[in-house]
């Protein structure tokens, strides 16, 4: 694998750009692997990457039913932050955020991490109290955040209307080191790094069955034939319930649609990420100039990857008071993704009832920011067979035992 560098660009410019290699290989599946990861989204690819990098396990296949990064990895609003209330959440999201800072250098692929700052507006007195509490919790957790005044909010994001009659801005939780990244590049970069380590990324290969014997997985059946494995990781987000069903266990997960939309591209007007949780909307501006807007989830089980018009109307209606300029903006595209929501709105990184089968799911509406940290923790779990400090609180049995990591109260909204 040739490295990407300024020198490589100069060399290829001389050679008419004929020497660029494919970023990753697309081999036919082998009969058996040490590890099979189901799902080549960000989390699956990151798991495979850290299995190779941190644990030296490279006889790995990553199976993908569609195309690489075509699920939620390519459908989110690319927000990266770690200002969570609960300690286990703050630990894994902060690990993830810190890995994002050096990810481009680590995998030799520009993921365009942009630590532009994330601002979560407090628009009710309840939110002011909640975010002050989060800022104190973050200080104890070693996550740098602060509660800022409305004047500072206006200074950081001049297009905000802080004096709205219905939703005045009373302050904000500010994480200066949060920001955005290029979602496709995260998947492509990890895929290229995995392929360079000799792992097989197999697209258009849907898992249709899980073979097990005596409480151990022996392999999977796929649309490209049966493949044997010694360990299996399920990292399929919205379809976790389907694959778990094939493996014979049930999850505390419901699949619902979450949608987002972008406006027509305009000149740079906003260089931070703003989340307005009271009105259920969050917004940033992409490098192309589009305003990227995320809304709420549907309230019912849905696998269609489609949005619905009334959610767009609700999201924009609510955001217009806070961002008056939106009223003059045309919306360009909208799309939906299927997110896996758990009972406590926290993820599951866990062993399963099958001894050599592991699952990473339940990231719900906030998975993109967690990709590197989630992969790191999942690789650790799969390599050693036991969860490390980042994953241990996120096990599947916490629902039975009442050890919730309750971020539904802390986040209050899609996160």
């Amino acid at each position: 694998m040739k490295r990407y560098s300024a020198f490589a660009i100069a060399r290829e410019a001389i050679g008419n750009h004929l020497g660029w290699q494919k970023a990753w290989a697309s081999p036919a599946p082998k009969a058996a692997y040490d590890v099979i990861i189901v799902g080549a989204g960000g989390h699956g690819l990151a798991t495979a990457y850290y299995l190779g990098k941190n644990h030296g396990i490279t006889n790995v296949a990553i199976l993908e039913k569609g195309w690489l990064g075509g699920g939620n990895t390519g459908r989110n609003t690319t927000i990266i932050r770690s200002n969570y209330l609960q300690d286990p959440s703050a630990a894994i999201y902060e690990k993830s955020r810190s890995l994002y800072e050096t990810l481009s250098q680590d995998i030799n692929y520009n993921v365009m991490f942009s630590p532009r700052g994330v601002m979560m507006l407090a628009q009710t007195h309840h939110e002011v109290r909640g975010y002050r509490r989060t800022a104190h919790a973050n200080a104890l957790q070693g996550v740098t955040t602060e509660f800022i005044t409305p004047a500072r909010v206006k200074e950081l994001c001049p297009i905000l209307n802080i004096d709205g009659p219905r939703y005045p801005v009373l302050g904000a939780l500010w994480q200066a080191r949060g920001g955005t990244g290029r979602h496709d590049a995260v998947a492509w970069g990890y895929a290229r790094a995995c392929s360079a380590m000799g792992m097989d990324i197999i697209q258009q290969c849907e898992v249709t069955g899980v073979r097990s014997e005596g409480g151990q997985v022996t392999g999977v059946e796929t649309t490209k034939g049966a493949i044997a494995c010694k360990k299996m990781g399920i990292v399929v987000a919205g379809h976790s319930g389907q694959v778990a069903d094939m493996a014979g266990f049930r999850l505390p997960v419901e699949a619902v649609a979450l949608q987002a939309l972008v406006s027509e591209p305009i000149k740079p007007c906003m260089d931070v990420v703003v989340m307005a949780n009271t009105v259920h909307g969050y917004m940033s501006q992409s490098d192309k100039g589009e305003m990227v807007i995320g809304g709420g989830t549907d309230g019912f089980n849905n696998y269609t990857q489609r949005g619905s018009f009334h959610h767009i109307e609700e999201t924009l209606r609510a955001l217009i008071e806070t961002f008056p300029m939106l009223s003059r903006l045309k919306m360009l595209r909208q799309w939906g993704g299927i997110v896996d929501m758990t009972g406590d709105r926290s993820p599951i990184i866990s062993k399963t009832p099958l001894g050599n089968c592991f699952i990473n799911c339940g990231w719900g509406t906030g998975g993109f920011k967690a990709i590197p940290g989630s992969g790191w923790a999942m690789a650790d779990l799969m390599a050693r067979g036991e969860p490390g400090p980042l994953a241990e609180a996120f096990d599947l049995w916490r629902f039975k035992e009442g050890r919730f990591i309750d971020e539904s109260v802390a986040a209050g909204v899609a996160h």
Partner: protein, 107 residues
């Protein structure tokens, strides 16, 4: 936009007029039940990609809870029925089988 018929009012109600209540026909467990039974009742969900039975409330209408049979993969609605039942009635099962010949109740 999802449109469901309220079995009490008999009117077609848009999604914006209704409140979703997720999986129907869950068995409710009380004091003396095991941890596993409570977990199954409170958290474990069928979450099927296909035929699903759900609770809905006609929140901005008559206010009553009712149940719906719906496909989560296509958003097709097979029918709605009153909530005072522990399982889907025969005419709903028949409506589902007419559209999904391979489907079996209890899946």
């Amino acid at each position: 936009m999802l449109t469901l018929e309220c079995p009490y009012c008999g009117i077609m109600a848009d999604e914006t007029e209704l409140s979703p209540g997720y999986e129907a026909h869950l068995k409710r467990y009380g004091p003396g039940s095991t941890d596993a039974e409570f977990e199954a009742y409170m958290f474990a969900r069928k979450n099927p990609k296909g035929v699903h039975f759900e609770r809905w409330r006609h929140a901005y209408g008559c206010g009553k809870w009712f149940l719906a049979a719906r496909c989560t993969a296509t958003l097709e609605v097979f029918g709605t029925y009153p909530a005072q039942t522990s399982g889907p009635p025969p005419h709903i099962i028949a409506a589902i089988k007419a559209r999904r010949p391979g489907w079996e109740a209890g899946q």
